[in-house]
């Protein structure tokens, strides 16, 4: 489906640290590392899943890419152009290319603006088309996200719409500029399972019909498996495992990914069908932060190695990377 060598977005060594401010003078609190030296490539036309638990930094990654927050170090390159710290005209041009779908459709639409106003706003901002071509574009876009007949929605306000409809409107707003790259930040976490499936299908269709490259941020491996070509598993700001979605889920190598899979409820199988059991029942006490970020919770960890040094990503097979000493040892052996 995609060509390996054509990466749309390159993330190089990106770190984000939040400084907690003391009450009065300067920074006296502890710094919080949201992302630690993340490097990723996202290829043209793929849906890339970023999977992690709450607070793992996956949402921060999305916000850094669209420029809602600034990176502390590292660079993000879109189509060969550095996008960190863009201003003015260059930033506006970048905004046309990259759009975002937010988590909470109840909060991401302005309650005072009609659906037409909301969806056509990007066109107005970028001065695209006149009144009638805008209307056609909005109509077309609303239809493509499954809101039909579109004219019925033009003058409705968000409070008259259901959660699923609102999220469709949010997708329409993101898609109307015909962006190259769309980030969806847990777009279905506020919606019912059946509505979620519909939203996933809309996202898939966008990729298949329009070839939109997507970063899909989620906490659910099941959703990632359904939707994504490749996934990256992130834990406390560090990449744990990157690889083709099917491969990572069928054959997870990192103990954290295995723990995530253990946590997915399984119906209709034996309770103990296949469990990895890599999660410690009680967290280890760790004095120093030097080791692997997952070390405190990892049952498979080797005390002196994993507690001392942080493992780097190493390649296992075709595009499958894992950051774990256990694997390195297995490889060497």
């Amino acid at each position: 489906m995609h060509k390996r060598d054509e990466s749309v977005l390159e993330i190089r060594d990106v770190s984000k640290i939040y400084k907690t401010r003391g009450a009065f003078f300067g920074s006296s609190g502890k710094d919080v590392t949201a992302l630690y030296r993340i490097s990723l490539d996202i290829f043209k036309g793929e849906i890339f899943g970023l999977v992690g638990e709450s607070g793992s930094g996956k949402t921060t990654m999305g916000r850094l890419i669209v420029g809602l927050e600034d990176v502390n170090s590292g660079e993000i390159v879109l189509d060969g152009r550095e996008i960190v710290g863009l201003r003015g005209r260059a930033q506006k041009e970048f905004r046309r290319k990259v759009q975002m779908i937010f988590q909470d459709p109840y909060q991401s639409l302005n309650p005072q603006r009609s659906i037409y106003d909301t969806v056509s706003e990007p066109l107005k901002i970028h001065g695209i088309g006149d009144a009638s071509t805008r209307k056609d574009l909005v109509r077309e876009t609303l239809k493509s996200v499954g809101l039909s007949p579109p004219d019925d929605f033009f003058f409705k306000y968000p409070h008259r719409l259901s959660g699923g409809q609102r999220q469709r409107v949010a997708i329409a707003r993101a898609m109307i500029l015909n962006p190259e790259f769309v980030i969806s930040d847990e777009p279905t976490s506020m919606l019912d399972a059946s509505i979620s499936a519909q939203i996933f299908n809309i996202l898939l269709e966008l990729r298949n019909k329009l070839g939109v490259t997507q970063l899909f941020i989620t906490h659910s491996l099941a959703a990632a498996r359904y939707l994504c070509d490749r996934v990256a598993v992130i834990y406390r700001g560090n990449l744990m495992e990157v690889g083709p979605a099917e491969e990572v889920i069928r054959n997870p190598k990192h103990p954290y990914t295995q723990a995530l899979l253990d946590a997915v409820p399984k119906f209709g199988h034996d309770r103990d069908a296949k469990r990895y059991g890599t999660l410690l029942a009680k967290d280890r006490d760790v004095e120093e932060d030097a080791g692997c970020v997952f070390f405190p919770r990892c049952a498979a960890a080797h005390e002196d190695r994993c507690g001392r040094k942080q493992p780097g990503l190493s390649q296992l097979g075709d595009g499958h990377f894992v950051a774990c000493f256990r694997l390195e040892a297995m490889h060497e052996a």
């Binding site: 909060q107 990007p122 901002i125 306000y157």
Partner: protein, 309 residues
């Protein structure tokens, strides 16, 4: 075809303010305080409108300069002067009507000015944040602790008689901080809402975010404040006038009270003392009751917005 479909949608659906106005009105109608306030206000508004009638009937009913040629002292109510005359034979009823006009003028213009000032400063502080926020809010704190009345007294002592518009301006300049604090808070919380971030991602300018996305969401609150500001402006003006620092060229209720007091009719002529006193109390009460009712109308609406209905 398309326009036909649009017309099929109920008219009210196209205008959110119309819906919220109708919704608000139905809540307001159940509010006794609000109804009393509204009725009182309508009466005062009629009084203000009627203030043009007496001088038109007969020049001697001119509230400021019209003097009854046959009367040179304070007289009790009669057919010729329904509320009596003041110490130099001017008609009290026509003064009272003119006072209503001044009260509305002072109250509403000072309120509008202070709310416009408060909203723009509050939105600027909330949106820009950092040192602009600190600067503006410390300024607001400084002004907030200054007693308006005292400052106006000092100013009029320094600059001599102040005209009614100067007084209005000063009241407005000293009454914005309360509004700006509330609006700043509202702006701060709106700024964090994802729909603002969505607009940013779409490429919206700061100008667009402020005026298209934030302003419509803070305006209901600003309108609420306007009614409370009217009350305080009217009271301040009346107090000033009573203390003798009002505009001598206008007939306000405060001025009338001052004339009663200065000419020593305080306890001799209740027909002169009571009407302006009662009017001041009632008009402030009515604006206050209206504000309270509007508070009740706006509050659940705001709450419902935050919830996910």
């Amino acid at each position: 075809m398309v326009s036909k479909q649009n017309n099929n949608i109920k008219r009210s659906e196209r205008y959110p303010w119309l819906i919220s106005f109708l919704e608000g009105w139905s809540i307001f109608r159940q509010n006794l305080l609000g109804k009393i306030g509204l009725v009182l206000l309508i009466i005062f508004a009629l009084m203000a409108l009627c203030s043009y009638i007496p001088p038109w009937i007969n020049p001697m009913y001119n509230p400021m300069t019209g003097v009854d040629p046959e009367i040179t002292s304070c007289t009790p109510p009669s057919l010729r002067h329904w509320l009596g005359t003041d110490f130099m034979g001017r008609d009290i009823l026509s003064q009272l009507l003119a006072g209503a006009r001044i009260a509305f003028m002072v109250g509403i213009s000072a309120a509008v000015m202070s709310v416009v000032l408060g909203v723009s400063i509050g939105m600027t502080a909330g949106y820009m944040g950092r040192f602009v926020d600190t600067l503006l809010m410390r300024l607001a704190d400084m002004i907030m602790v200054m007693p308006t009345l005292l400052v106006v007294l000092l100013l009029s002592a320094v600059f001599g008689q102040l005209s009614i518009w100067t007084i209005v301006l000063i009241i407005a300049l000293f009454r914005w901080p309360g509004v700006s604090r509330i609006i700043r808070g509202q702006t701060l919380s709106l700024k964090q809402r994802p729909f603002i971030e969505a607009a940013k991602v779409a490429g919206a300018s700061h100008f667009r975010i402020i005026f298209v996305h934030i302003m419509p969401n803070v305006l209901p609150l600003a309108f609420l404040f306007m009614t409370f500001r009217v009350t305080s402006a009217i009271i301040t003006e009346a107090a000033l006038a009573f203390l003798g620092f009002g505009d001598p060229g206008t007939v306000s209720w405060g001025m009338m009270l001052q004339w009663v007091w200065k000419t020593g009719h305080m306890f001799q002529a209740p027909y002169w003392l009571l009407p302006p006193g009662i009017c001041i109390s009632l008009i402030t009460l009515s604006f206050y009751m209206l504000g309270r009712a509007m508070d009740e109308v706006l509050d659940p609406r705001l709450r419902r917005e935050d919830q996910t209905d």
